[in-house]
Symmetry: C2
Subunit: 224 residues, 2 copies
Amino acid sequence: MEIDLSKPILDRNERLAAENRARFDEAGVFVLDLMASPGAGKTSTILATIAALRERYSIAVIEGDIASRVDAEKVAAHGIPAVQINTGGACHLESDMIKRAIDALDLAALDLIIIENVGNLVCPTDFNLGEDAKVMILSVPEGHDKPYKYPGIFQVSEAIILNKVDTMPVFDFDEAEFTSVVKSLNPGAPIFRMAATKGDGVAAWAEWLAARIDAVKTAAGERA
Amino acid sequence: MEIDLSKPILDRNERLAAENRARFDEAGVFVLDLMASPGAGKTSTILATIAALRERYSIAVIEGDIASRVDAEKVAAHGIPAVQINTGGACHLESDMIKRAIDALDLAALDLIIIENVGNLVCPTDFNLGEDAKVMILSVPEGHDKPYKYPGIFQVSEAIILNKVDTMPVFDFDEAEFTSVVKSLNPGAPIFRMAATKGDGVAAWAEWLAARIDAVKTAAGERA
């Protein structure tokens, strides 16, 4: 019953997403929208990604949360520019929030912006922020049946990180079934097995991301 | 920016919630709205609760999901009436969905209806379904910082289940800090430590729920 009301919100969001997109293109910066449930390891993955790529790229982070700025503080402690967005209750980020956040960043000096979306497997799926790619994290404790129950987010993600793989012995996680369902929903998306807090599996993910960043920088160079 | 549009949705939801509420009162049935992230153990907790209380009470379950009916099938396999609601993308249940679900149940024959909301720590918070109580589950793998980041759901819940406590040795979960923040957000809410799939801690939770069910039945008896 929200269908009629959501259309104008989505239309406005798309318009502002296109404006963000144009600014990112002009600056030659790759923008990642990272989505996951609460507690799946978004911030840990961001910190691991920063550790893997900070020597090669100039990175900033936009942190989306309902409330608090604990994540932005964790990132800023590593010397990386971090902008906190508090959505004041909203369950996802929207383009106008990103627009205001990037006003606080020196886009031309950046190669990579990682947006940490609000912890939610549903709502962020529908909102284009102007990013280059959406990527999702599922953590092993959430269970292998999640692609059945939240198919949308698995379909819009260009890559899927399976995090906390070190806890697989503790949980009844059927990885073969998980992989099979994900492949049926989204055949082209790679699945990166990771234990972000331990650094396991981060290198393969970081190389995938680096290739995408390089492609954006090359394209921007050719346009300039 | 959604504030203006959400008000009519919430107003309509409240009106239908009141109609559900009146039907529950008339039938003397206690209705629980169970909320949690994806994978926190909602279905496992429901199955453990059914096992603990099915000899004493007549129970039905309403399963809310974006897609699939795997949870309703799990519940129905235990011989309990289960109604599946597929929200078709919506991130929470609303009163009119519950209205249609209870049309499929024999309310007068029931003592307890457990509603499994969509896996989400944000959106279900704002939607009154006509229930007697909202209760939330947080699972240990999600992390002890979640009350900081999703305070609303901790504030509206009348009890909080801390699930998967058997995995605490695997995760860096500061239970003292968790308890302290929950108590500051919601001083009156009990916290039930549980490992639902193993049955640990289910008895204390089930007794809390039984006391609430008995109070509703007594009140309905006095009105009759």
